[in-house]
């Protein structure tokens, strides 16, 4: 792999993503954790641009930074004195470490190596040749041969989430 401006930018965004992720899990203050998470998500948006997926990058900013982060902060403020934690409540961190490591290996062995690994058909391709445009996406959503069923099911999922949130938040009536 040659060393060019793309590699430098990739390095910067990777550091932002990983550093933000590290800050999220190590921060004792939940709001600080949320801010680190935003930094990390911003890095992911940059990686999407490097992958020639500007639509996903904008969605990353709109939905994750603009909406999910707000939701997390609202959720933190619902809780009692969770903003200044002094001790670790989670006693299962060793177990979760094992689970995350297994998940990482699974992703690597199950998806990344067979699809993009050395010796596969996609290894030599540029990201821009793999990623479809917004137009392709729009056609795929409503094309009977492609993703129309998952598309409608997504709406069902959103409705279920909405009803679930209302049931949890307003359980007194």
């Amino acid at each position: 792999m040659e060393f060019n401006i793309h590699s430098i930018v990739f390095l910067i965004f990777s550091v932002i993503t990983l550093g933000g992720g590290l800050g999220t899990v190590t921060s004792r203050n939940l709001i600080h954790g949320a801010v680190y998470l935003i930094v990390s998500l911003f890095g992911v948006a940059g990686l999407f641009i490097l992958l020639s997926a500007p639509f996903l990058a904008a969605i990353q900013v709109l939905v994750y930074i603009g909406a999910i982060a707000i939701l997390i902060i609202f959720a933190v403020m619902l809780t009692r004195s969770m903003t200044r934690m002094t001790e670790i409540y989670n006693r299962q961190w060793s177990l979760s470490l094992v689970v995350s490591a297994l998940l990482f290996v699974l992703l690597l062995v199950g998806i990344i190596l067979p699809v993009w690994g050395p010796g596969t058909a996609n290894a030599a391709l540029q990201p821009s040749e793999l990623v479809a445009t917004t137009v392709d996406l729009g056609v795929a959503f409503v094309d009977g041969n492609q993703f129309v069923l998952p598309f409608e099911v997504a709406s069902l999922l959103l409705t279920a989430a909405m009803i679930g949130a209302i049931v949890i938040a307003r359980d007194r009536d």
Binding site: I38, F55, A58, V61, G66
Partner: protein
Amino acid sequence: MQECIDIFNTFAGCLTASGADPGLAQFLSILLGVVLVAMGPLVIVIFLIWVERKYAARVQDRLGPNRVGPFGLLQTFADALKLITKEDITPAGADKLIYNLAPIISVVSVILIWAVVPISPLHIGADLSIGALYFVAVGSIGTLAIMMAGWSSNNKYALLGAFRVVAQLVSYEVPLVFSLLVPVMFAGTMSMQGIVEAQLGMWFIVFSPLAALIFFISTQAETGRAPFDLIEAESELVAGYNIEYSGMKFGLFFAGEFLHVFTNALIFAILFTGGWLGPFVYQVPALGIIYLFAKGSIFYLLSLHLRNTLPRIRIDQLMSFNWKFLVPVSIANLILVAFLWKVIQLIGLLPGPENASDFLAHLPAAIIMLVGNLALTVVVLQMLRNVGRRAVAANAVSTPANAELDDQPYSLPVPH
């Protein structure tokens, strides 16, 4: 590589023609664009503050700034100088990093929008293929800045104000995006330049005035202008999320808000009234800047006038108005517009690319869309009237003693 016609429109081409390396010329032209896009808004905002103060003064029968410079034009420079030399107080217990970052993010989120504002057929910071989505995405970062400011100030009013504001901003983003879908659908692209060029034959405001109205109301709420100015509800929250900020940091929030209003007016002009389109704009691209700013200024002044003449609404009214009125109406409008558009396309009245600039070819389609929009408006107003009557009736039943005393038949319903 473009050739050199004149230095204003083909900067990179002229640099190459005068002997520079093409790559370097391209780089310099982009760099110049970036610097201009970053500096331009900050220069414009100085003028905007003067306009805003002068307009508010005239509405309230005052003179406004009139001492520093001709017509008080230099007043804002004096104010900026004053703000710079003011003490910058960080409250005790504040989260220093987040506290200092918040005003910066607030202003930068507005400046970033200017990157996709096409000011002429040739000039745009970056004609992104997802321009319209970029506008919404970057705008949502501003919400985050308010949240950060409110939380990090270690102040009850600031936090309460920030929570209210964020609830307001995220709520009004929903109708904003739904009405944004309408021009995207008409143009068939999210690129800002593409949306402007698609209006060559007919402005989108004619196709769907309802979407334009909803977009305008939503942007008014997004910038926290009256009647949606709960952001700075002086009487309840003292000043809201930026109460602890002083000196230039307060000035940045202030400037960011003013700039946001004007930026939204420009975006409205681009999405619905053809942006830089106007007579002879393709012969003299510089005219596009004048057209765009003239159109934007009209909507900016409309926004100013609303701000200075309307009272503030309550937060429950604000939320009901959004979730029970704007959101369903914007969804209904979107479905109606999509349906009519398809019908027009199927019966063959939709002008194709060969007569994209032909006004008359767009006329039948525009009339059908306009009538459809007006019909929906009438239906919505009728439903609104019924709801209002029922509320008045319910109010009269629940408070019979007051109803007898009340001579006015249309007293406003009082919530309990």
